[in-house]
Symmetry: C2
Subunit: 381 residues, 2 copies
């Protein structure tokens, strides 16, 4: 049931976070064969749903993202992760659209995940079922039903968010009129899986992980920080790292000029940056969620779900698709988007595709790329 | 002093490992300002030194390599790491040349490193001084002096071995007539440093690391395995991983066909492979050596050593250079070799350069690339 009904006011206060939770009315059927009982989704909305409930846009978040799309993160206090894209007058204009973003199941910002209490009153930990991208989307579809939204104006996502948008389009084709997929893929490459496995091994090598049962003790922060460092390298490009840091040395805490320490201090700025990224992440993210969500991403293979034919995933779709890749993204390079475009073409779908030039690597979808804003604004309408 | 003099027999038994050690006659001056007393180099030789001592080739090994270039590794029992390149009739022909390969200082296969006993009778651990590529080469020059070799026919190295070859050419220009540098660089990029820092953080996050003092207890094998996994991904190419593994599932230990486990088993072959690479590595390599050698590589910046001008590193050199890069190497991409070629050109050095097409990524220098064999054979003469 819907815990709190959506407000249908036509407010001009467009950025209008409401910090809601939604309890799925039925047990969630999982691709792994089990059921997840009593699942809850934590979500935010921005803007107002119109009377015909036809102006809703679902934004799906990436691996370590959350529902705080356009409102401050309650733990870090930082602005929402996509304020440049979502807000009044922005490409996804909250003056016109009702924008929904929910924390995926398996995550740790209020939706049911490994840190949630199982029916026995203890945290699930490693007893949480392994989930898939489609399971995440199944829960999101439950939320849309709860909100009374039969058809989205658009579903939008970058990276893992793009996987969810694709999964929604493939498995619930009547649910979205437009599908905007940015810097994403129809399946993980061996190299993608390898980087994720490295991160998982780093977490599981941390003795504090303790088989996933650490919620009453110290969390495996050191392992999670290493996992984050590895992932972070893949989110940037070699040229972005060179432009940002090069071989510059880090100034010392005492203010003195950077110099080689001939020790294992963070001599180089890039070392200091990575350590900071790693440790900061551990304050806002749960290590078990990292395991489960990376696993879901590695399992994602839209063709495999449809008899081995990617085009079959989109048979008969009436949605319009827009795919965007970035030339500096080596995690999900342009070839992955092209592969999707070919399948959409084969399925007779309406699809536009653009590779944008941006220096920031995979993270370009989150950063200052005005061309992306223009593409999104044009496509969303 | 030379512990055991080189045999000057002209044997046709070309692969002729002798498993020697050489004690440096003087304390080794280090770039970090200290002295390393009583340093020993463990080395292998193949072929025979001629009477004029002019047919010697020094091969420098990479980060996790060792002196077992063309003879079985005593720990793993595997063949030498470059038997395709070095041996009778091979491109580096041990019927004609006296080939030397020494374990670098800081490593763990018999040369002095963090696992060696310090003067107080306990292992150095983190008390071992931070060393540089030039320090490694300074020790190798000591070995050449001990062997009575004033000038090498050639110095050869891939990856970190290439850094050593460049350092020898730059700092001891009279020591080598030919310099063959494969898949290497004049300095580490921010991304290279980032991957190394990730590995170091994985090791130091392992509680068994214990500040580097673990030689009487359990070593930080889990952390070292994660570091190796990270590095291993960078040694291959995305296409090599795809060709080798793709998204193929691993058959089960009971012989049943691979299937998604919906657990955290190594479902994908690439996961299984990486875990194997990680754990196998810990049986032959010391975690502290990994810290010290990666640090030396990150510090390497041949231009910085020569007033910020890479060309100045090669001023007045009489050596002939040959540089080889691989199109699939994203660790030290072709641009790094080109940067070196431009500097050598500016210095008026004789240099040839070729980018080879090979599918194996950075590891191509160790693998089946017949074009590399031809280039090496032609250059070595």
């Amino acid at each position: 049931m819907l815990v709190e009904p959506p407000r249908l006011v036509h407010s001009r206060v467009a950025v209008n976070p409401v910090n809601r939770t939604f309890a799925l009315p039925h047990a969630l059927m999982l691709d792994g064969g089990g059921l997840l009982e009593d699942a809850v989704l934590a979500y935010e909305t921005y803007g107002s749903l119109d009377e015909t409930r036809s102006n809703a846009i679902l934004v799906c978040h990436a691996l370590t993202g959350d529902q705080y799309l356009a409102s401050p993160h309650p733990v870090t206090g930082k602005p929402g992760w996509w304020t440049r894209m979502v807000g009044p007058g922005r490409p996804i204009d909250t003056d016109r659209y009702f924008v929904i973003c929910a924390n995926v199941i398996g995550s740790c910002m209020g939706s049911t995940g490994p840190a949630s209490l199982a029916p026995d009153g203890r945290a699930y930990g490693a007893r949480f079922p392994v989930i898939t991208i489609r399971d995440m989307v199944r829960a999101l579809v439950g939320l849309l039903e709860g909100l009374g939204i039969a058809r989205l104006h658009a579903v939008v996502g970058g990276s893992m968010g793009g996987m969810q948008a694709l999964s929604l389009a493939a498995n619930w084709p009547e649910r979205a009129a437009r599908v905007l997929v940015i810097a994403s893929t129809s399946r993980h490459s061996a190299q993608n899986i390898a980087f994720h496995e490295l991160g998982r091994q780093a977490i599981m090598a941390d003795p504090h992980w303790n088989g996933g049962d650490y919620y009453t003790g110290k969390p495996p922060a050191a392992g999670l920080a290493v996992a984050r460092m590895a992932a972070h390298i893949t989110y940037l490009s070699e040229s972005a790292l060179t432009a940002k840091f090069g071989r510059n040395l880090q100034d010392r805490p005492d203010g003195s000029k950077g110099a080689k320490s001939f020790a294992f201090e963070a001599d180089f700025q890039v070392e200091s940056y990575l350590r900071h990224q790693g440790s900061g992440f551990t304050r806002r993210f749960d290590a078990n969620s990292y395991l489960y969500i990376t696993r879901a991403m590695d399992y994602f293979d839209l063709a495999e779900e449809h008899g081995g034919h990617l085009a079959a995933a989109f048979g008969g779709t009436a949605a319009r698709f827009c795919l965007v890749s970035f030339d500096s993204d080596w995690l999900y390079p342009t070839a992955e988007s092209r592969h999707l475009v070919h399948a959409l073409n084969a399925a007779g779908a309406a699809v536009s595709f653009v590779e944008l030039s941006a220096p920031f690597g995979h993270d370009s979808f989150l950063l200052d790329v005005p061309a992306l804003d223009r593409v999104a604004r044009g496509f969303i309408g």
